[in-house]
């Protein structure tokens, strides 16, 4: 993933003031920062759920959301944007599982209806993925009967089912009860260890310490500090970073 000088405003409010970030294959990057710093907006720009105003983002070598026309970038067709999104998995803060489908139904929905995978093949894949996130016994359960932690794990399996080149996590544990945060983080740590390319917006510094290759601190629409997790725990340079960390640790 390669992001360059991404700008985004909502009305008069400039949320992203030129964010650039490089994430290489197999890397796990955590984005931290106070609320309103633009981290969620940034991660949503990466799969074009949010349209950036200027800048460019590439995933797996493909320009996201836009087409190059001469010197200009023009918004791409819906079909192409949809295709680009199949390469990018997204896990939301509020899970956004499809309540009218079972856990397995959620996981196989897109492989079958977007990628055109054969149903029985998708069922095999879906069952395996649900097993991987520890929910082999819940495949026929509807989201309404699952705990928050279980729902989020289904959501992770659902995103993985598309075989994405990049996984985005938008505060995946913020809506969870404290006692189930661990089970979700565990799954994410495993993914990171298995070499999944991940960008994680989170406040879970424990996760960052264990799983992240790199931590990025955002404040007021800019990346103000970047480094290894150890760097952030031992010697953060920036005053804002120190203030922020002292609040959440």
């Amino acid at each position: 993933m390669h992001a360059e000088n991404v700008h985004k405003s909502f009305g008069k409010l400039e949320v992203l003031k030129g964010v650039s970030l490089e994430v290489t294959k197999g890397e796990t990057v955590c984005i931290i920062g106070p609320s309103g710093s633009g981290k969620t907006t940034f991660i949503r720009c990466i799969n074009h759920l949010e349209k950036m105003d200027s800048g460019r983002i590439e995933v797996n070598g493909h320009l996201i959301g836009y087409r190059q026309r001469g010197d200009e970038l023009v918004e791409d067709s819906e079909r192409n944007i949809a295709r680009q999104r199949t390469e990018i998995g997204m896990v939301f803060q509020r899970f956004n599982l499809f309540p009218h489908k079972t856990a397995l139904g959620n996981v196989i929905e897109a492989p079958v209806h977007v990628l055109g995978t054969k149903k029985d093949q998708a069922v095999g894949l879906g069952t395996a993925l649900l097993g991987r996130v520890g929910l082999a016994d819940k495949i026929d359960t509807y989201p309404g009967k699952l705990s928050g932690g279980q729902q989020q794990r289904v959501a992770i399996a659902r995103a993985l089912a598309m075989g994405p080149a990049l996984m985005l996590f938008d505060e995946p544990t913020s809506a969870l009860d404290p006692e189930v945060i661990g089970e979700v983080l565990e799954v994410m740590e495993e993914l990171a260890a298995a070499g999944t390319t991940m960008i994680v917006v989170t406040h879970e510094m424990g996760f960052a310490r264990k799983a992240a290759n790199r931590v990025v601190m955002m404040d007021d629409g800019l990346i103000i500090e970047e480094g290894t997790p150890e760097h952030f725990f031992e010697a953060p340079r920036h005053t804002r970073t120190r203030q922020f960390l002292s609040k959440i640790l």
């Binding site: 759920l49 819906e78 079909r79 998995g89 956004n96 009218h100 977007v114 990628l115 509807y142």
Partner: protein
Amino acid sequence: MHGLVAVDWHIIWLRIFHPGNVFARALWVTIYISVVSQILGVALGLVAALMRMSRVAPLRWLSGIYVWIFRGTPLLVQIFFIYTTFNTPSFQFGRLWAVPAEATTGILALSINEGAYMREIIRAGIDSIDRGQMEAAKSLGMRHGQAMRRIILPQAARVIVPPLGNEFNNMMKNTALVFTIGVYELFADAQAQYSVALKSEYFVAVAVWYLMLTTVWTFIQAWIERRLSVSDRGEELSFRERLELSWNPLTAWGRGAPHR
């Protein structure tokens, strides 16, 4: 005068238990006009609702004007307008499937009117679905139309069905209006009987028939809602509870409320 004092129960008995072939035909006309108009009304409402949410501004305006006009004018006026406009020799599409032309224009008027109400119901249903559902579908690579069809509408359907059921209940009663353009349906039949004998009992009898139709529909509606309520809710209303709710006029309004 005598009507209040001495009800002719015999007429009511006859009209309910031995109504005859002409009546059976009229009953059938009422049922198929209701069903066909409702189905077309839902289809029109869906199209108008999607137009309302379109990115193309003229489509949104068109949808707005449609609802504005057809909810803002009397159904009876619409029926007469559409009947007199379309039931001309140059526009005789009515003989299709051996359906009388009056019935066809009646269906046309009822469904266009119904579509305006259904648009609001369908739009409210779609709006009630969390924005995150569309985002999740899109982030999985679905296009807007596909996400609408596979993710949003199935969920919206559950919200739409209870008010849709009430619309159909109204529809069955509103079909009586097409008697005015010469369709021989239930009410026209009662009117015909009355005009011979001048006995109000014929209207009591036809009211009982309407009541039977709407009551049977109550059962069907409860069954449909039961089928649609997948187990994403903590506790579900049982078939019996739904029926009880719908029987009791004081609690009937609560049927559409989400039972989360």
